[in-house]
Amino acid sequence: MSISKTLNKSLWVYHVNSGSCNGCEIEIVATLTPRYDPERFGIKLVGTPRHADVILITGPVTKKMKEKVLRVYHQTPDPKLVMVIGACGISGGPFYESYTLAGPVDDVVPVDVYVPGCPPRPEAIIFGVVTALKKLEEIQSKK
């Protein structure tokens, strides 16, 4: 895999759980373990949105979390990318109708990359991040 010259820094990722079942969470964390080791590409989970380039959002966005998701989105500096991990953030998935949901994610914030699956495998998540990387480069090269 090539990380092109336009990528002038490592890709830092912040993760928000907007009401998911945890299935996607553990796969995201599993992605970060030595088995897959995405840190060799500089991909790293950070503890605050202010340091992040990519926001990973899981879950169908409950009403209580909607405002918090928005806040995280606005706290992340530009250029930023939003990735949805998992079926329930994309279209509700198993939680396709409910009275406490404000989702899916792209009803709340604009989304750049969708990673389907319930939950997606770690390989799929890495592939998603790499796709995001390309998109970020496109945005930067346009400037």
Binding site: C21, I26, G59, K68, C88, F95, S98, P119
Partner: protein, 413 residues
């Protein structure tokens, strides 16, 4: 750090969460802090409330099964198994013995996976990165095994009402045995690492105390309850699946050390011992796996028809890795979807115990105490310190840093 500059004696309000995915109720903690001490704790759960029980009144039972699995991705066997047992009682379905055994094997694999995951998180909160990576690496092996047996890494889709969907064939036994051997070796290593390390002991001994009486009164469940000396375990008290044939005994910390204190350290010990117990249970199940069918009613359409006509109510219980999971289900003949479904996840019962454990402790101990109940991973995602009207934010990293600094201080001192 925001707290260190305060000169006033008025308590400071601190909010943790709500990004905290424990089962269906992520939780926001509101702390009042005086200096380094926590003086008051309040909880605000509900950020993850997706209305599952309500959704169920609009679906048929087989569809609900998949929602039940997704109540929590880590306890996905626990909830689907419990749901199946509840509906089996309501509709008078008897599961075949082989299915009971296969269910047991999966449930115990899930326990190993969950406890390892937890041990890793605990190590991370305390600042033992080596241990964290070690446990998570082995956990990947459990995930592989689960994938090998069920076809999926998370949300296994193995349960079906009246039995299980996939068999464990004799050809698969060697692979399982090999993994079990690995876990036994790992168990010895982990026990050494956790018990011999004096700093870890200093951090965890007498931290986050919960007495036996409090554990009983607050209705706590699982390892949290057992670490306080209540020898209750659904697998022992009210056996189901294959547990009735195996004589499982509840694990309490006095089985390894000779006292019960009900602190974080005891909770670590209980979980470690349970990993070993699970390995034993799986080995026994493999040896005595009975022959026979896997499903009581193999045809889905027949099953659905049966469930449609069924009338009655049932309860399902299972000792999930984090504690007892309970489902209540009611079927009426006039409708296909259940008339009522109540899910009680383990953290639901352990909510109040946090308040007791955290009171009077230090800020640096929040991560490990919260983690010691084993909610889900990102429970301490964000902490906001509200100080004289202004809000400063503790991130998960800040908190973890404070916790780690404490470990380092102890190491050097």
């Amino acid at each position: 750090m925001a707290t260190s500059e305060t000169k006033t004696h008025s308590p400071i309000k601190t909010v943790i969460g709500p990004i905290h995915p424990a089962l269906k109720e992520p939780i926001k903690f509101i702390f009042e802090i005086e200096g380094e001490k926590i003086s008051k704790v309040d909880l605000a759960p509900g950020h993850n409330h997706r209305g599952l029980e309500w959704m169920a009144t609009r679906r048929n039972p087989v569809q609900i099964l998949y929602v039940a699995e997704r109540i929590c991705g880590i306890c996905s066997i626990a909830h689907s198994l419990t749901f199946c047992r509840a509906i089996e009682q309501a509709a008078a379905i008897e599961t075949p013995a082989r299915a009971d055994y296969v269910r047991t094997i999966f449930a115990e694999l899930e326990r190993i996976h969950s406890h390892l995951l937890w041990a890793g998180v605990a190590a991370l909160e305390l600042g033992f990165d080596t241990l964290f990576y070690k446990t998570w690496e082995v956990r990947e092996d459990v995930m592989d095994l689960l994938e090998y047996l069920s076809g999926n890494r998370v949300n296994y889709g193995i349960m079906q009402i009246g039995g299980v969907r996939r068999d464990i064939t004799p050809a698969q036994h060697p692979r399982i045995r090999k993994s079990l051997l690995n876990y036994t070796i790992l168990f010895d290593e982990l026990v050494n690492m956790f018990l011999e390390d004096s700093v870890l002991r200093m951090r965890c001994r007498d931290t986050g105390l919960l007495t036996r009486e409090e554990a009983l009164q607050l209705c706590t469940v699982g390892p949290t309850q057992r670490a306080s000396g209540v020898a209750a375990d659904v697998r022992q008290d009210n056996p189901y699946c294959a547990y009735g044939d195996l004589r499982v005994k509840a694990v309490t910390p006095d089985q390894l050390l000779d006292e019960v204190r009900g602190d974080v350290f005891d909770r670590i010990i209980v979980r470690l011992l349970e990993v070993k117990q699970s390995v034993d249970i799986i080995a026994q199940c493999l040896e005595t796996l009975p022959d026979g069918p896997l499903l009581a009613i193999p045809k889905i359409m027949v099953l659905l028809n049966h469930l449609k006509k069924a009338e009655g109510e049932g309860i399902g219980r299972h000792e999930a890795p984090r504690g007892e999971v309970f489902h209540y289900l009611r079927l009426t003949a006039d409708r296909e979807s259940p008339a009522a479904w109540k899910v009680k996840a383990s953290t639901y019962s352990n909510l109040l115990s946090w308040i007791k454990m955290l009171q009077g402790e230090q800020v640096a101990d929040i991560p490990i105490i919260v983690a010691s109940v084993d909610p889900c991973i990102s429970c301490t995602d964000r902490v906001a310190v509200i100080k004289q009207g202004k809000t400063a934010v503790y991130t998960q990293e800040d908190l973890r840093r404070i916790s780690r600094e404490k470990t380092r201080r102890l190491r050097q001192g």
